[in-house]
Amino acid sequence: MKKIILLLVLVLSTLMVFSEEVITLNLIEAFSSPWRTPTLNKIIEMFETLNPGVKINVISPPYETAYQKINLMISTEQPLDIVEIGDWNLSTLASIGKLEDLTPYINSWPERNDLINGVLEAASIYNNKPYLLPHGIFVKTLFYRDDILAKYGFKGYPKTMKEMYDMAKKLTESNKNQYGFDFRGKGYPTSFIDIVVTSFFDDIDPNNMYLTKSGKIIFDDPRAVEALNFYVSLYKDTAPKDSINWGWDEQVNAFVSGITPLLFQDPDTTGMLNEMIPGKYKTAPLPIGVSGKTYPSFGFVGWGIPIYSKHKDLAWKFIKFVSSAEINGYWSKAYGALPILKSVYDYDSYFSSDIFKGWKDMFNDTEHYQFTQYPLDNENWGKWNEFQEKTMQQVLLGKLSVVRCLKEWTDFWKEAGLDK
């Protein structure tokens, strides 16, 4: 009898195991890398352990073609439940009506109020609706080498653009290969140029960095002439001539070697610096412009749900899990992005260190730092990056005047219908 009962129990339990329905969610990531993808896989393992019967299948296309693959998969309604979307392809996907509006989910999410101010608004670039929940944000801040500044008698970091220029000029001794500012001339220098230029304005549209609040294109304003002249001086008087050809690699190298101790960069730079010059650098808020304001922008990447997904609630459960304070801190540390929740900056010793002072102070100072957005939903946005880089380089080389350049920029955005 005992044997029969034992056999029955065995058969029943085996049947139960095999009859349990396993739900598979398909997730596609956009920024696969040898450092980030393993972290994502670990988070997925944790989620699967906490949610038996759920399996997440990760699709990791090569970074270079990921946006195209994601756009294609979603537009042709291939089986996807969670999709990673960047600020650059959000409008494209939302405009074809393939993304779920996450408003009801986010509104019922307890950690919503812990989100950094402005993040959700920044992510609502299409129809003012959040079609994704960011899991990491990118904001430029001022990195500085206090050891080098101290050598030249400076006790702190520059608080204003003018102070930064003066400091960088004093640091510049080209015969000793010592310069002040870590300039960026190539490889998407857009946000760097625009931080400097908009700091001469006090009326930038919070929804569009290239418009004033009255709807005028900023490059068509006399203040832009002053701003761009300042930008050119920053290059000519404080930066190595070679930096017109510098992208991220060269910038970081120059900062690490101490040649240029003042740098505007994103948080993902910290990973490299922590390895190469631990304890030798700090961050400070971006210097304030003559207008009394500075306009950083949020770069972001997040998770969205395709409208045709059959497991939307489960997909949201995963997104919620990844965005919880504990996981978001772990994820951001491994990835080099800034956490989206304010509480992470307090409880996690890594994010409460001096390294993150620049960002923390900017997030808390809403009087001087007004976050604004790029016209990412404009069709000409991609073209703009190359055009701005090339024309700006011509200005720096003296081949194009500041006034002519600004006219070209104004015409570009007028043709793109920005001022309508």
Binding site: Q68, T92, I96, D242, I244, E250, N378, K390
Partner: protein, 291 residues
Amino acid sequence: MRKRSFILLMILPTIILISFIIFYPTISGVLLSFKNYSLYNFGNIQWIGFENFKEIFSDIFYIDVIWNTIKWIFFSVLLQLILGFILALLMKEPFKGRGLYAGLVFYPWAVSGFAIGLIWSWLLNGQFGVVNDILMKMGIIEESINFLSDPTIALYSVILVNVWYGIPFFAIMILAALQSIPNSLYEAAEIDGAGYFTKLFKITIPYIKPTLVNTVLLRIIWVMNFPDIIYGMTRGGPAGSTEILSVKMINTVFYESNYSLAAAHGVIIVLILLIYAIMYLKLTSKKEFSI
């Protein structure tokens, strides 16, 4: 008839394979150039006729791109030919350590163009570049040269790296041709009292002329379609001073994410090469060169 059917059946897999691998992507690329397919316009892809081509030819920088391409091809191929020829001549005669020497000479050919571009972008860096350091320590220059950021010399800097990269190809081709020249020709010339240069211009060059012509003509196609080094070193900058046609096409994809416009750039490159290939075929279809 059965034999012909059998032959057709045997080559059918090749025809199908070539159709899929070569013809389909080519036709698809040409069709793409007449659409508005870009990352920012995914929901509304349409046939737009010649709009992409109009945009390319109305670009005020396009003439600079063409001019850069001509300079890039001319100087790269000319210097590669001259230096490759000299190297081949030096390696023709057996000497001690020739194997090692040949290995060193052919080394650049074994490395990827992108890697070479990245390596040289650091070597020529104006601030921490080894080249500047060596030149300064040798007392040749007093101030570092901005090889890649000075628009007047940037193109020549990338050409120089391309020359360094391409010499082995010419050296290999010419060396093979040199080794096919019968020694008896030189012996006869020596008996007649011919000097080194007479032998070079009257025997060596005429004998290997077909190889030289073919190599130069093929190399021009490769150099035109070789963006790797420039992309790794300058991405076409500063201010477009090193931008050639193939780099422009890559920039259109990576910066603008405008695939149709990039395809239109590709079609223009193909058309230029097609004209060139017809000329090339006409030239090479002539009878063998005689000495």
